[in-house]
Amino acid sequence: MIDFELTQPQQLVKDFLQRLATTVIRPGSLAWDRDHKVPDEIIEKLADLRGGVSMGEVPAEYGGEGGGIGETRDKKGTSQKNRFAVLGAEELAWGDAGLLLNLPGPGLGAPPVHLLGTPEQKQRFFAVFDKPGLHWGAYGLTEPGAGSDVSGIRTSCKKDGKDWILNGRKCYITNGGRADWVVIFATVDPAQGRAGQRAFVVEKGTPGFSVGKIEEKMGLRASETAELVLDDVRVPEDNLLGGEARYQGKEGFVGAMQTFDSSRPMVAALGLGIARAAYEYARDFVRDNYLLTRPLPRYAQLAGMLADDARSLQAARLMIWRAAWMADEGIPNAKEASMSKAYAARVAMKVCRDAVQLMGAHGLLKENFVEKWYRDIKVFDIFEGTGQIQRIVISRRILREAPVF
């Protein structure tokens, strides 16, 4: 069927998260941006209230709630997991996307553990999230010298008896400074390219493993982004994800990349939530202020901006839903996942820019949310694959032969 109505469970979840965003998240949002921190008690409160929306999925068989929130299988038994995920992500980001990245859970560390880890490793690493208190996982791939070009990582790993010795530097790691463990990608030999890469779980407190600086960012300031230093870090071989057998081919790299087909639409949905928030804020400002003195036809250009932004947000949402639907149906969706992120990021940038413009000088004041959202949104065309990388992924799939750029 061709249909876009939300199921009742989906509508309930959306309404619940919207209320959560309005009553608990928005009131603190500007302060967290200003202070560059979310208080622990807020994170704990949200972790309890969020009804199972976790950052990174702990699979059911290892104590997690499995996929997403609420009823995730429809009557035919098809999973609704990805559709729930993008709906939830949009609502929570409408509240505060930076806050969302603070929520406890394995984060982006979950997919490599899930995909590459042995059953024993999954048990061991996911178990930490059952313990009381706030716990995070993290994902350490990016380095100062290697962002888009993942094959360029230089953090080294060298076998020493039953251990591995890791040396290097990782940067831009969300929750890297406070995570219980971080999945660190290292290489046995840069000359081997992707075939030489290995994924390790490095636990907090391991000697030689330390936090460098916490980044000062343009936006998403409520989220902590850390630099990690590995100085002769000794990691037991039991922490090499999947064991040595896993790396006969180029498993490490494949493990890093495979996560994006699910995560890209979700990240796109976060950006959409921010943009929708900015659009609504500016629209309501126009309605409540400008229309007091003149009718809308005298603001024809503003009407044009509002109309363009409304339809672009709708279109971006549907691109995301399309990618999520394909993931739920088990249809390969790498191209659509990348399209949804590339498209939504560009739309979101324009909408946030328009929102500031529509409010005039008021759009520049820190007391108004659109100022923050304008800063928050820029990263969405950069992290989780830049817009340029997305277009490389897309063009590789539409051309008969993969281009060499």
């Binding site: 069927m1 249909d3 989906q10 009407a303 509002l306 109309a307 839903w321």
Partner: protein, 420 residues
């Protein structure tokens, strides 16, 4: 439930249309453009497919009530496929059937039973269905006063139509023309009616063909003027719209926007696929032109434009099928139209650009599609009107361009005041 899967009956209609577009439309697009018309055998082959029956809610084209209930979505799927063959040809092929859905929306039961069968099947004594046209637009700028400039002066047992209609698709070629005319000039957009004028111009007293417009694109389609000089229309041929002419016109215009958007999606997909293929065959500096990043990225952006416009169109069509056609639904139709217009223009423009010099010459179809899209976008309503309607709906303010609950394509009193 969020779902993007066409039903089996929809897939069958799409496949049928796609096949026809590839085999019977695409090979002839230039010849028909130069002739200014589709060839008779092409029209006959298209009519034989029976696709136009999808325009009618009660039609043997639908196997069951569910299929009928999703017909707007099915129509959009079909129109995209036909326009993929060629947008001009797609409009021209459907044009003789263009009055059918309007009559279906605007007629009451008695008129439905009398006027529709000849349009759908043909009169008892003729070879095929009657051809239709809709005369709506006028040269007189709509900002000058409220209402149509073509008058329908009440007479005994009927009305006398006088005035000039422009931009009429199939002007002069139709056996039945729906004419929008003003009954009460003092009542603005509350004072018009829709009249079914039977007979060809020249053979019908008081109606004659004016000039055929020479247009930037869509040359395959006859678009021209109709001149009315006290053309008498009996009372029973004034469409009574089941009592709610305003709502009926709203449904009519919603369909115009969605079909227009579907054609734009088809056109933009045609431009994208043509450029995708061409740039992989064309070599420069030692490799396919598509393997240069700027070209590859442009192709990726074009695909995103096509798909985003299509999904927004599908959402609007699904909402219309589900009903009711309230303000939010009408806003979604306008959004789909505006989004598809922009996507098609940009994709067609990119296609010409990616073909380089070849994109500019008429040996290749992309320049035609860049011209066609400009005309197509105006056929489904001007973007500024879309913008105003969408913005008002978003702001939740009383509409300046609705009058008495009527369709938004018509400027209301407040807008008149601003413009005058």
């Amino acid at each position: 439930m969020i779902s993007f899967a066409p039903e089996d009956d929809q897939q069958i209609a799409m496949d049928l249309s796609r096949k026809f577009a590839a085999e019977a439309i695409r090979p002839h697009l230039r010849a028909w453009e130069q002739a200014g018309a589709v060839a008779p055998e092409g029209q006959a082959a298209f009519d034989a497919l029976g696709l136009c029956a999808l325009d009618l809610p009660e039609s043997p084209a639908f196997g069951n009530a569910d299929e009928a209930a999703r017909r707007m979505t099915t129509l959009c799927l079909v129109h995209e496929e036909l326009a993929f063959g060629d947008a001009g040809a797609a409009v021209a092929l459907w044009a003789p059937h263009g009055a059918t859905h309007a009559v279906a929306e605007l007629a009451d039961r008695e008129q439905w039973d009398r006027l529709l069968p000849p349009l759908v099947h043909g009169p008892a004594d003729s070879a095929g269905p009657l051809r239709g046209a809709v005369a709506y637009s006028e040269r007189v700028p709509t900002g000058l006063f409220a209402g149509f400039s073509t008058l329908a002066v009440p007479q005994r047992n009927g009305y006398a139509l006088s005035g000039r209609k422009s931009f009429v698709v199939n002007a002069g070629l139709a056996d039945l023309t729906l004419v929008f005319a003003q009954i009460n000039p003092d009542a603005g957009w509350d004072g018009f009616g829709v009249f079914a004028v039977t007979g060809r111009p020249g053979r019908r007293e008081g109606m004659r063909v004016g000039e055929r417009h020479g247009l930037l694109g869509l040359d395959t389609v006859t678009v021209g003027e109709l001149i009315f000089e006290e053309c008498f229309v009996p009372e029973e041929d004034r469409l009574r719209g089941g009592g709610a002419i305003g709502a009926a016109v709203q449904r009519y215009l919603a369909r115009v926007q969605l079909v227009g958007a579907a054609r734009q999606v088809g056109l933009s997909r045609a431009a994208y696929e043509y450029a995708l293929s061409y740039t992989q065959d064309r070599r420069a500096f030692g490799k396919p032109v598509a393997h240069f990043q700027a070209i590859a990225f442009t192709l990726a952006d074009m695909l995103m434009d096509v798909e985003a416009a299509r999904w927004l169109l599908w959402r609007a069509a699904a909402v219309v099928d589900r009903g009711p056609l309230d303000r939010a639904a009408c806003s979604l139709c306008a959004q789909a139209a505006a989004h598809a217009n922009e996507a098609a223009w940009r994709t067609a423009d990119n296609a010409v650009q990616l073909l380089g010099g070849a994109g500019y010459i008429q040996d290749f179809p992309v320049e035609k599609w860049l011209r066609d899209t400009r005309v197509l976008s105006l056929l489904s309503g001007a973007d500024p009107l879309h913008h105003e309607f969408i913005a008002e709906a978003e702001l939740g303010i009383p509409p300046t361009s609705l009058a008495g609950g009527l369709s938004y394509g018509l400027p209301g009193a407040a807008l008149q005041a601003v413009l005058s």
